[in-house]
Amino acid sequence: MHTDQLIRSLAADNPHRAPRVGAVLSMALLVAAPLSILIFATFFGVRADVMSAMRNPFFDMKFAVTLSLAIPAIIVSLHLSRPEALLRGWGWLLLLPVGLLAVAIGSEAMMAPAMPMTMRLMGKNSRVCLVAIPAMSLPLLAGALFGLRHGAPSRPALAGALAGLVSAGLAATLYASHCTDDSPLFVATWYTLATALVTAIGALVGSRVLRY
């Protein structure tokens, strides 16, 4: 086909309007969320002592950490869905949860320890954590990848990793209400490991499905 002919057909299709990537990503996450919540409600559920736990600042801190991962990850993934976008200037947003965790670990270290450090770090739920966060992430990861497919990322693996961070951050927010380990040391260790796993899956799948 002659290029002028192709151009003619593209011009004829100009009236077609695609929704914005942010709109598609939001819809896809909203569709996926009930599945993750179903997994949460079926296998995990909110911890029994949630009312008293809410008076513990380290319990609340878990949500601050997980949401400070999920929300910036959504923002950065939308930024990277533009082909000319660079991570530079935006990547620092992804350090927010790291900073929050550092502050939390510091404040816990200054308090009289309720438990020895190794017990706080190992907790009682490390294995559950490593299974629960990835399991609840999967529907959200599929949704995030579907949404980002609507974009045009120049680095599909990186965009896929961001989809992994989005889904892990949201799944960890659910999981935080189940887990009875509130020490920032536990969160920094096991949540991070689970998130790294989901991020790696996202990068791997993204490198295939996010090419446009």
């Binding site: 002028d4 002919q5 192709l6 151009i7 057909s9 009236p15 695609a18 990537v21 120049s154």
Partner: protein, 181 residues
């Protein structure tokens, strides 16, 4: 260069506002620049330049289907060249070549180079044959026979809406096939 790129941005804004003719002019204006860059990329990879047109058409399709990711407050050229680079890298990889795409391949088109003739390419035409009948007929009518949406609808006994849907789906399907084949 500046003036040319500002003009592109203006045309793309008009296109988004619904001016199909401006969009047509824009695509005609960028095609020679993309062609020159594709030839340079192929030359660097030790490939014959006659494949450049396939790459140009693939870039144009991607530009078309991803144009909603362009921010109308941003200049158009960096967005266009980013897509061009990505598609050129993909195309060279598919040909099993080690890829050296110069970051300036797209940005630094010499004015003389841009005056090359347009050409025909085989890949889009070949994939066109694999589309469902309806989409193929509509694309054939609008692209090759230069018929309007209205005339195409009358000729194929379809509604104009159905022609528009078939046209868009056809273009999207072509893009997918070019990417995955």
């Amino acid at each position: 260069m500046r003036g040319r790129e500002d003009e592109w941005t203006g045309l793309m804004r008009s296109a988004r506002a619904g001016d199909d003719a401006a969009y047509h002019r824009l695509l005609k204006a960028v095609a020679p620049v993309l062609r020159a860059a594709a030839r340079r990329g192929l030359a660097r990879a030790g490939q014959p330049p006659d494949q450049a047109e396939d790459i140009v058409q693939e870039i144009l399709l991607a530009v078309h289907l991803k144009r909603h990711t362009w921010d109308s407050e941003a200049p158009f050229a960096p967005w266009l060249f980013a897509i061009g680079r990505n598609k050129l890298i993909d195309a060279l990889r598919r040909r099993g070549k080690r890829v050296f795409v110069n970051i300036d391949d797209f940005a630094e088109t010499l004015p003389g180079e841009a005056a090359q003739e347009t050409a025909s390419a085989g890949e889009v035409a070949a994939q066109l044959g694999t589309l469902p009948q309806r989409q193929r007929d509509v694309l054939q009518s609008i692209a090759v026979e230069a018929a309007s949406i209205k005339d195409t609808a009358a000729k194929l006994s379809m509604s104009e809406g159905a022609v528009r849907v078939a046209l868009h789906r056809g273009l999207a399907a072509l893009t997918g096939k070019l990417r995955d084949h």
